[in-house]
């Protein structure tokens, strides 16, 4: 779990930095960034799977419903930013992607706290 969390956080921060640079340069989101976001989503899905397996094996979590709420909500954020990047072909799509990446990283932190509680 811990390794996956750090992978997601690192990827999200890198993607966020990339988006920030493009926003500052007045550039919109490009397809390669969406592929990167797709990679984050793939790791998130693996994490969901690991979470399910660990719980099925009897790992105890204080607040499982909230944990799963976070885990599932997290999956929606980057795809929503991807939709925006198709609609909005200006620097503002980069700002949206930056916010999405940072939010996903923050939710990872919340999941980690709930998991280790």
């Amino acid at each position: 779990m811990l390794v996956l969390t750090w992978i997601v956080v690192a990827l999200c921060l890198a993607l966020g930095a990339w988006a920030a640079v493009r926003a500052l340069r007045d550039q919109a989101v490009i397809l390669r960034q969406l592929f990167a976001a797709g990679a984050v989503e793939a790791v998130l899905l693996v994490q969901l799977l690991v979470l399910g397996v660990l719980q099925a094996r009897g790992a105890q979590v204080d607040d499982g419903v909230t944990l799963w709420g976070y885990a599932i909500s997290m999956l929606l954020i980057l795809p929503a930013a991807a939709v925006v990047s198709f609609l909005e072909r200006t620097r503002w799509s980069s700002v949206v992607l930056l916010i999405a990446a940072l939010t996903t990283a923050f939710l990872q932190y919340r999941v980690l706290v709930l998991w280790s509680a």
Binding site: G69, S73, L87, E88, W92, V95, V96
Partner: protein, 141 residues
């Protein structure tokens, strides 16, 4: 450029505002549903408010993303409710903390969400104001 029609709030920088509204709608609604599903009896007032705020954020997100006059009116109303909500609940949660044993989006003026719930309605109202319909005789601002 002058226009009698309101411009869409949901383009350019406005798109960012709509996106953050969507995030808050998701966060508030998902959290409220989790709270109500697991422990409604512990803090019925706080959890009901959570759900209400989540629904208002959903309404505001949809309304801001649309540009027709009707939806803009809905956006004005929803965002005003948010501003009143965050101010009232923020003050109440400090004045009578025993009624708010668990967090809501609006508790402590939205401190748990980096004060975004406090700032966002103001940003939303400014956005609606700046994209309002302008009558040609008054000229463009």
């Amino acid at each position: 450029m002058t226009s009698a029609e309101p411009r869409s709030a949901a383009h350019g920088g406005g798109r960012v505002v709509v996106f953050v509204y969507g995030l808050l709608a998701l966060a508030a609604t998902a959290r409220a549903l989790a709270q109500i599903a697991t422990r409604f009896a512990e803090a019925p007032l706080a959890y009901s408010l959570s759900l209400f705020s989540g629904l208002v954020y959903i309404l505001a997100t949809v309304a801001l993303a649309r540009s027709s006059r009707g939806w803009r009116t809905v956006a004005w109303l929803a965002i005003s409710v948010e501003l009143v909500g965050v101010l009232a609940v923020g003050a109440l949660s400090l004045a009578v903390p025993e009624d708010f044993p668990d967090e809501t989006v609006w508790s402590q003026f939205g401190a748990g969400y980096g004060y975004v719930p406090l700032v966002l309605p103001v940003v939303g109202l400014v956005l609606l104001w700046r994209t309002r319909a302008r009558s040609p005789e008054r000229g463009s601002g």
